[in-house]
Symmetry: C2
Subunit: 237 residues, 2 copies
Amino acid sequence: MCATCGCGEPAEATGHRHDTATITLEQKVLAKNDRLAETNRAWLAARGLAAVNLMSSPGAGKTTLLVRTVRDLGAEFPISVVEGDQATDLDSDRVSATGCRVIQINTGSGCHLDAAMLADALSTLDPPAPGLVLVENVGNLVCPALFDLGERERVVIASVTEGADKPLKYPQMFHSASLVVLNKIDLLPYLDFDTDSFLRSVKLISHHAEVLLLSATTGEGLPEWYAWLRERLPDAA
Amino acid sequence: MCATCGCGEPAEATGHRHDTATITLEQKVLAKNDRLAETNRAWLAARGLAAVNLMSSPGAGKTTLLVRTVRDLGAEFPISVVEGDQATDLDSDRVSATGCRVIQINTGSGCHLDAAMLADALSTLDPPAPGLVLVENVGNLVCPALFDLGERERVVIASVTEGADKPLKYPQMFHSASLVVLNKIDLLPYLDFDTDSFLRSVKLISHHAEVLLLSATTGEGLPEWYAWLRERLPDAA
């Protein structure tokens, strides 16, 4: 990856200028993260937990979806939450109001969560099992795609206000996800958003990703999202 | 800065684990960029050009605002455009349809433009002077804030669909801007967006930033944006 942007791309492909020492360091950073992610995955599996990594642009509605999900499913099985933001406890305060177990990670200038941060958070959070750990990454459609946290699934949440071209313009993120959620569909009547074009763009980038259309505000489409989450519960549940 | 995320923060503050060699490399990357940015600034000033760095989340409306600006002001003074995206020529195609001079930079996995990329682009673009160079950065509210390109002004564009808490959650970006544009105000009737709270959040993060409210779609507020741009024209114009 390129140390200038932490991007995970072979340095030659980014147009940045690197020396050999830089490239070696970049490879080491990602390799170290991948090892820690595998440790997290084993730790979670051994306890009957599955982590879901929620990624999106700032303001796509991750926290609103998360709060509603915890309220609607929290009595059915344990859900714990890890909140990632550059600054503030605003999101963990919103989640905490549901009574759910939550921990906030502030990354400072950091642009994504990494496996070491999740390991520290899990150790403090001590999530009840069997159950799910929902991880809200830093709002960013670029950098989080490259850092495995040890999650079982990656979900990218796009909103209809962002435009239909985002899968093509941020291909790593959409390619890395097993589920694409298209949120804020209640706003479609007021926008010039081409849903078919969005769905075609997702298919061009990813042959494997499922797509769900929903509105975390009105509740439309939430039953399908909840069914998808239930299927991710470890077998022990 | 932290090489894991390219974030510019003292490594201790990010919670990442670094050795001395990593921290030294991180400092070198940012210092080298700053030197190139100063070279760009001098190059632009000597030619009667001023660059404006447009930054936002994905889908906040940078390209729509840019295309409308070029259409409305392009006959008044020369405007050239540098488009930054991870992938595709979609944005430069939209800008090119206006007849304006434009160049596309694809950053691959890179999460921001840097001064070396802008230097290469300017050399190819050969912008007509005296005039403005509008630079559309990669859609990302984190990483672009830390990389000086040699611009005269930094503008962050937020949209009302993203929520009013973004200045607090992405403080580096909002603190680095001299102008905050709040876009998509035509959607306010359909959203639970607290404009006063947004304006208070901007003031908490930045004592110096101006704020303009507009809709690039309906045209409301554009005269004030155009007046702001005219004031950025080099004196030679």
